[in-house]
Amino acid sequence: MRLESEWSGMSVREEFDDWAASGRDKGMEERHWHTAKHALARMPVESGDVVLDLGCGSGYAGRALRDTKGAGRIYGLDGSPEMARNAAGYTDDSDVAYLVGDFDTLPFADDSIDHVWSMEAFYYAADPHNTLSEIARILRPGGTFYCAVNYYEENVYSHEWQEFISIEMTRWDREQYRAAFREAGLYVGEQDTIPDREIEIPEAAAFPTDDWDTREAMVERYRELGTLLTVGVAP
């Protein structure tokens, strides 16, 4: 991990426009796909459903739901105009659209969305409790919120990430996620950690690497801890 930025006080727009411009949207897509695809496969999306991808980055997740489950319309929302522009550039599908917006002020009508997806983005919300209330507001009854994060308390290897990012990140543990969902009026349907079985882990002799002191640590981070998924269901 390199020190990408030491500026402080940047906005989501500034920080992630920068990431988009340097192609990090595609790098994240590749890495996140290892676990995201398993969480996406679990979603009870029916053909014709409207799905919102919060912090969509390159937008790969929504496009996958359209391909695999016949989702009717996919909206990818991102706070970075450059991310949304990149995402729009990766598809010609007119039932997939991107918009610029912020997690704390979701620009959608009450009960207008069937399912909400978010990968590695929720913890950037300035007020995550408010974001959950907003999600509960826009979901129709029985709609789900699939919230996937690699940055969480039990994943001790993720704690240092805050040093490299100028936006304040929320680091909840598993229980705090469940409690916050319930506080916002969402039922908790499941919680799980999804291991990344695909990232290549070199033989022991290769350690320390640039990023990992020991093979054990890398195994724990990816094969054991993985991505924390919390599923909320709107009443």
Partner: protein, 64 residues
């Protein structure tokens, strides 16, 4: 964006309906225009087909 998005899109500030002004179309796609809140009058631009619904204070921000 298509007009179907307009049906569920709302003002991020007060969640009221938005009216489309100065729309430019490319087939069924709205490629440019302004979304105006029917309640508070706040204006949200559509550029290259992508509506920007950031609240005005986040939209106007300049680099630190």
């Amino acid at each position: 964006m298509k007009e179907s998005l307009l049906e569920i899109l709302r003002c991020p500030l007060d969640k009221h309906e938005l009216e489309l002004e100065d729309a430019e179309y490319d087939g069924e796609e709205i490629v440019a225009g302004v979304l105006v809140c029917a309640e508070c009058g706040e204006r949200y631009p559509i550029e290259d087909g992508i509506p920007n619904l950031l609240p005005p204070d986040m939209r106007e921000e300049t680099p630190a």
